[in-house]
Amino acid sequence: MSVIKLKPVLMLTVLTAVFIAQTSNAKEAFPSTYKAIPSADILIQNATILTGTGARLADTDILLKDGKIVAIGQNLSAEKATKIDANGRWITPGLIDVHSHLGVYASPGLTAHSDGNEMIAPSTPNVWAEHAIWPQDPGFSRALAGGVTSMQILPGSANLFGGRGVTVKNVYANSYQAMKFPDAPHGLKMACGENPKRVYGSNKQAPMTRMGNVAGYRQNWAQAQEYMQSLDEYSALIEKGGDEADKAKRPKRDLKLETLVGVLRGEIKVHMHCYRADEMLTILDLAKEFDYKISTFHHGVEAYKIADELAEAGVCGALWADWWGFKAEAYDGVQENIAMLDRPEGSCAILHSDSSEGIQRLNQEAAKAMSRGNRVGMKIAPERAIQWLTSNPAKSLGIEDQTGTLVIGKMADVVIWNQNPFSVYAHAEQVFIDGALVYDRDNPALQPVSDFELGQLLGEKK
């Protein structure tokens, strides 16, 4: 959330792997090695359940087995399952933050931990945030205590094309590969507005203006289109039984353009840092010109001005509840932004953090946004507002078939709250990822401690 932290977006897809295999004969790079933690069957009983699909179920049970949700209903029975009485408590899907810099701007904020912005040129779609994630960031444990089970970790927003983002499960591991969300697409972080033009313009480099920003996007997309065409022509040649001479015509690998072609083929999702309404509309036209899709505008402090247009375009908005004013493009913030974005049919409103503090309290931030909407006459119920933290971010990241809702067959990413989560007094009591209990507020043995924090301040009672 800091003013200085600029963020571009990167995204990875399964499809990327397919694409790379097709175009360069490369294997999937840095594949996920994530494995669910083994778990017993869990039957959580008598809870109020917000499903993430828009429903609220009273006095309902949910059964978790082999890492999946296998049953939801009243009076479920499962003899072998461990039973948890959740009477008076609330259950939601695990929360998902589409905009985190955990691991790439880790705590403590050492010079050595500043790994989120490759500020050497305005176009660096070849860099991947995952290659900079420090898996020992203490921030992961704090986010887990706030009920966050998945997040997208993005590069910063210094560059027009900042690089690829990665979606991870919120589990401690010795590698990001072991956190990497299975089969999640990559993101591409892009940035509008002040950051790129400030970072480069202040060095008398392009872009120095918003004109330069757009020229920079267009030039890169034009190159990506040409590159894609040369790849396609080559594939056609080989498919027709090309000879050795034809094979020698294989286009040279270009890691920057590979990422952009991934977007053009719909395999990598664009996450674009953009505050102002007019700039978001410019970008929607840009996407039409080059025939690609924007997944999500991030920050979108002026999204409320163009809620209808964003819903019409099918683009999500990942916003803050009340953060504003730190720069000119954030000057028109209103606390009703999320509620107003959420209003039109077909909208996709998301509450994001972009902050190691905010990610711990996504429920509180959503509560603020919900109540601000209700204060101006909207009728936003908790079962709707929870979608800003679960199903909508899942959709934004392309993982909605696996998680983000409490639906039979989905990953058992589940949070038990001590009360209605839309409150400052709510605590995530127990957090399950793929059916495994990975956080328990009442059991220190089930509260992870990163290597970094182990043994600090020995002798002090914590």
Partner: protein, 412 residues
């Protein structure tokens, strides 16, 4: 002539505000957070006369010229404290032309006082006031100096200028290292020298003199607050030693590891200013940062004040206080940390609802520390203030249905 006209306008405005205050205000059936020994009064009334609380009790009677508000059981608190802030000192953080809280002299100029830059008409003030934030303490900073300058408390009524005692700010630990030659040890070398210059005048002609005459004057009063920003437990103890040795009215801010030295803070009678949301080891000075900081300090008897810093979003202080309660701090103590305690430490009128106190208060639509609540009415010196801000107008412009004319013609 021009001065005369300005005086005339000023007197007219003064007259108008005096007229507004002439009417008594009776708030009935309120749940009153007195922040005094009376605690919370259920279903009680407040009578306001001449901008002050003249009576508090059950079933008070309205006079002939009394405006009445039925609170219908709603919570009423003193106006809240928004923390150490740069509100009124900057409009857009990244736009230097709007920013006045920072001095880039690279000199030790503790006499730099940001109150002279305060703009009561800043849009940030109404935006935060309508959320119940009525006070802040202005916080300066100086590049290249562990002395950050001075500030003072201000009432966010959109008219007043900062009043009351000048508070001095001193930045120690890793945050001040760049200003002390790279070592935190040198910070005490500099502090000792600066305060000895205040008492003895220092070496009149020496090349290493730190302070100007104005700087020595600025540090002369030991009764005004001296806010030491420091996080590491060991550094807090050093600061306490310095405060004691120099008989300063010391305050510790930052204080991430204060819970580890709560007993020493209590023994020294030094208040702390903390962010109750801080729980990450942001630096090697704050490895002990934890959510229970406020709870432990309060239990030890230390006076606690909350601050989340910044300017634009100081309305977040309620959420911060609510989180302190969610992590074990008694409700009354968390409320005091954003009302009575800062009023006492920074010597401004407010922070309690008791007879004789200034009638700066807020009526809430729910629990004031709950994130789903909001202020229904903000009353300053007994007068209900406008609940309109630049943000509420932007919201209303775009909430309205689209018409044929551009939104620029919709002026709600």
């Amino acid at each position: 002539m021009r001065n005369f006209l300005i005086s005339l306008i000023f007197l007219t405005l003064l007259g108008a505000s005096a007229m507004l205050q002439a009417q008594d205000l009776l708030i009935k059936n309120a749940r009153i957070h007195t922040l005094s020994s009376a605690g919370i009064l259920e279903t009680s009334d407040l009578l306001i006369r001449n901008g002050k609380l003249s009576k508090i009790g059950k079933q008070l009677q309205a006079g002939n010229n009394t405006q009445t508000i039925d609170a219908k059981g709603r919570n009423v608190t003193p106006g809240l404290f928004g923390g150490l802030s740069t509100i009124g000192l900057n409009e857009i953080s990244l736009e230097d032309s709007t920013v006045d809280q920072s001095l880039d002299f690279k000199q030790m100029r503790p006499e730099f006082n940001v109150k002279y830059a305060y703009n009561p008409a800043s849009s940030l003030i109404a935006i935060n006031r309508i959320e119940g934030i009525l006070y802040a303490v202005l916080k300066p900073s100086i590049t290249g100096s562990i002395f950050e300058g001075q500030g003072a408390a201000v009432v966010l009524d959109g008219r007043s200028f900062p009043q009351g005692a000048n508070a001095s700010f001193i930045s120690l630990g890793s945050a001040g290292k760049g200003d002390s030659g790279g070592s935190r040890a040198a910070q005490y070398m500099l502090l000792e020298q600066a305060f000895s210059e205040v008492t003895s005048g220092g070496d009149q002609n020496g090349p290493f003199r730190l302070l100007t005459q104005a700087g020595r004057l600025a540090l002369k009063s030991r009764n005004n607050p001296y806010v030491f920003n420091v996080n590491r437990a060991a550094d807090i103890l050093r600061a306490l030693d310095f405060i004691k040795a120099n008989s300063l009215n010391g305050v510790i801010s930052g204080a991430a590891e204060a819970w580890m030295v709560a007993a020493q803070l209590k023994a020294a009678g030094v208040p702390v200013i903390i962010d109750p949301l801080a729980n990450l080891p942001g630096s090697f000075d704050s490895l002990g940062s934890r959510l229970e900081n406020a709870t432990i300090l309060n239990a030890a008897g230390v006076a606690v004040i909350f601050s989340t810093g910044g300017a634009h979003n100081i309305r977040k202080i309620r959420q911060a206080a609510g989180n302190a309660v969610a992590n074990g701090m008694p409700y009354a103590a968390a409320m005091a940390a954003i009302t009575a305690v800062p009023a006492q430490v920074f010597s401004y009128a407010g922070g309690k609802l008791e007879v004789g106190a200034v009638a700066n208060l807020v009526i809430w639509d729910g629990d004031p520390l709950e994130v789903t609540s909001a202020a229904d009415a903000v009353i300053i010196k007994g007068v209900s203030t406008s609940m309109v801000s630049r943000q509420s107008l932007l919201r209303d412009r775009y909430l309205a249905p689209k018409g044929n004319m551009p939104r620029a013609y919709q002026k709600p």
